[in-house]
């Protein structure tokens, strides 16, 4: 049953994508959109129960374990949230001519193709399939980024596709090298040879020298896709130019999928040449990301770029968690993946509504949001506070654990830098968002009431954000623990 689910899961969004091509009507498209996402989430939950009860399942090139399950849940859940948000967002975007109705179906089709590729990325057991799906996400999302068709969008899309393609071609090279090591270690035979689980079996016998080279390639390669500094430069461009729902998916899920790739290889490298090496590499990249993101966040005027740089920072924090290592570190990193995904999606949604209302992405233009859109403004504030790591929001918990892992490992310097940057970023973010939310809005701002569907999507995310800030349910905790065990 669950084995079939494995290959059904990617098919669902693919089919949804195909269905999209059958109609032009916005309502029907939105309906299909939401239904498809709902089905995906439902099936994912079923699979989650199966896995929680019966352990990992594998079929052919696909395999699901608790580690992948975390990311899969994130993908499915955010997809649904995005679909709900898109309903109202689309109406408004069409109204202002941001989207063209004749291109709608291709948009939806692309979004779901994008989701499908991400699902495959998560489910892939075979590292080659992982790479293929990753490149697939690049292609589909590149088209989506350039979707508005204007010059900036295309520029961002070009930068995105070129840089990330380079990146993950490095990733492919790393895969090849590690595969070679595996082959040298006597792992042979067709498609199974690149299977992660198979390689993990022989991982301790691999040659550390080659694995190191391979891991460096993978780290830089998939790290580019994950937006780790200093390979992050494409990220703010792409995330700021994409349509808001796509930005949410990019920031919320896509970079996490790349992280999953890194984590898979980290486990191999840890087994081959000891956990210290990959942890050290991750630690360095994490610190660089946190530090590099700071000045750009402080001196930023474009709200979506701001959020993009925040993604850089938070991916850095995840890398830090993985780098600090230990059970707590890994646990914290995985938890942070989920928390940041949800929070960042919420932030992009709220920002998108604000942008639509003020017709500008410049934070110096957006003023007094609270008085024209109380709920939206509040949600934006909550998202910002959560991003800044204030309790009772989810990110505080994961950052707390990252910090604890660091202290446990005695990385005092890293902790000092990390904390300093977090505080500075907090100041910058609160300054920006505070000036957007408070104050008196310009007279020209539209004061139309807020529509339900974006709010619904946002409130869904906000609810989970606060819930995860106040408690970690036992089932989720168990999932994280098992995943932690896989990584270590």
């Amino acid at each position: 049953m669950s084995e079939t689910l494995l290959w059904v899961l990617p098919v669902v969004p693919a089919v949804t994508a195909l269905l999209m091509l059958t109609t032009h009507d916005r309502r029907i498209l939105s309906a299909i959109d939401v239904c498809g996402s709902a089905v995906l989430l439902a099936l994912t939950l079923v699979l989650a129960r199966e896995v929680a009860s019966g352990g990992p399942r594998a079929i052919g090139l696909l395999r699901i374990d608790d580690l992948g399950l975390i990311f899969l849940l994130l993908v499915a859940f955010l997809t649904l949230a995005v679909s709900i948000y898109t309903v109202g967002w689309l109406k408004q975007a069409l109204a202002v001519g941001n989207m063209k109705s004749e291109l709608l179906r291709s948009y939806f089709a692309l979004v779901h193709a994008f989701v499908a590729t991400m699902v495959v990325t998560v489910l892939a057991d075979n590292l080659g399939v992982l790479w293929i799906a990753m490149e697939g996400t690049t292609i589909t999302s590149a088209v989506l980024i350039g979707y508005h068709g204007h010059q900036h969008g295309l520029e961002a899309a070009w930068k995105y596709i070129i840089v990330t393609t380079i990146g993950i071609s490095f990733g492919l090279f790393g895969t090849v090298v590690i595969y070679a090591a595996a082959a040298a270690a006597g792992l042979h035979g067709g498609a199974g040879a690149l299977s992660w689980s198979a390689i993990m079996k022989v991982a301790p016998t691999l040659d550390p020298g080659i694995v190191r080279i391979g891991f460096i390639f993978v780290m830089v390669g998939y790290g580019t896709k994950a937006g780790l500094a200093p390979m992050h430069l494409w990220l703010p461009d792409a995330h700021s130019q994409a349509p808001t729902p796509v930005s949410a998916l990019l920031s919320g899920v896509l970079i996490k999928c790349a992280l999953l790739g890194i984590i898979r290889f980290q486990t191999i490298a840890a087994a081959a040449c000891g956990p210290a090496f990959p942890a050290g590499v991750l630690l360095v990249f994490g610190l660089i990301s946190v530090v590099v993101a700071t000045p750009f966040i402080l001196a930023q005027h474009d709200i979506k770029r701001l959020l993009g740089y925040h993604s850089v920072e938070h991916v850095g924090i995840v890398a830090l968690g993985l780098g600090f290592g230990g059970r707590i570190g890994t646990y914290a990193a995985l938890l942070h993946v989920v928390n940041h995904g949800i929070t960042k999606a919420l932030a992009f949604f709220a920002a998108g509504k604000a942008i639509a209302r003020y017709g500008s992405r410049d934070m110096r233009v957006i003023r007094g949001l609270l008085s024209v859109a109380p709920i939206g403004g509040t949600l934006l504030m909550l998202a910002a506070l959560s991003l800044a790591g204030v309790p009772p929001f989810s990110i505080f918990v994961s950052e707390l654990l990252v910090l604890r892992a660091g202290i446990g490992q005695g990385h005092w310097v890293a902790i000092a830098i990390f904390l300093a940057m977090v505080v500075i970023i907090f100041a910058g973010l609160l300054h920006h968002v505070g000036s957007m939310v408070f104050g008196e809005p310009a007279a020209a701002v539209s004061r139309e009431p807020e529509t339900w569907s974006p709010l619904l999507g946002m409130m869904l995310l906000a609810a989970i954000m606060i819930l995860l800030g106040l408690t970690i349910p036992a089932s989720f905790d168990g999932l994280l623990r098992r995943a932690t065990e896989i990584v270590r």
Partner: protein, 218 residues
């Protein structure tokens, strides 16, 4: 044929590939770059054939064939077509002087050899100089992208570094599983098409080279 001959042949082919790569890096004209990458793909196909005969691995034949068709013919044709469609200045404008680029390329080659030299004994497990050559090819391809301004040369560079990966895959591991190789190649084709469309789109809307756009910064 014996393992040594295979090694020597592969090494020679590797040398040829490096040569073509240098041609690409130093190409003064887009056409030259395109032809160079086509030739490169051809050599890789040959290498595939050689390894196939040596190991009797059928998949390698298929891969060699696909490489020959796709990378040595289709992609160059696509690029050629694009260049035709947008009748632009044909000469490549380098970001930094070609001399410096070449120096960097040499540096890269040295680094990669030194790196795999640091591996020591394990190199015997790997076929000859394939790994350092592969690394060098991949990195130099990207170097070509980083040092030339036009979108087309960047695509060329991309394919060149992909070639490097393929060569490594073949020579180091007797080829990845067939299905994976096919998937990869499909991806590459897709990516190439999307890029080509973007290039033409920008060329048609704003009369500029998409690689020259730099309005998004900071």
């Amino acid at each position: 044929m014996s393992a040594e001959t295979v090694h020597t042949i592969i090494d020679d082919l590797g040398a040829l590939l490096l040569f073509t790569m240098i041609l690409i890096v130093a190409a003064g004209q887009i056409y030259r770059a395109i032809y160079a990458v086509a030739a490169q793909s051809l050599f890789i196909a040959v290498a595939g054939a050689v390894l196939a005969t040596a190991t009797g691995n059928v998949d390698l034949w298929v891969i060699a064939g696909i490489t020959l068709i796709v990378k040595a013919m289709v992609l160059p044709w696509v690029l050629h077509h694009v260049v035709q469609r947008m009748n632009i200045r044909r000469e490549v404008e380098p970001v930094i002087p070609v001399g410096a680029t070449l120096a960097l390329a040499v540096l890269i080659v040295v680094v990669s050899f030194q790196l795999s030299a640091s591996l020591g004994s394990v190199r015997q497990a790997i076929t000859g100089n394939a790994l350092p050559v592969g690394i060098a090819l991949t990195l130099t391809g990207v170097l070509a992208m980083a040092t030339q301004k036009t979108a087309l040369t960047q695509m060329v560079g991309l394919f060149a570094s992909e070639n490097g990966i393929f060569f490594t895959a073949m020579s180091v591991t007797q080829g990845m599983p067939l299905i994976i190789e096919i998937g990869v190649i499909l991806d590459v084709i897709l990516a190439a098409l999307v890029m080509a469309i973007m290039v033409l789109r920008v060329r048609s809307t704003v009369d500029a080279d998409i690689a020259d756009l730099d309005r998004l910064r900071g």
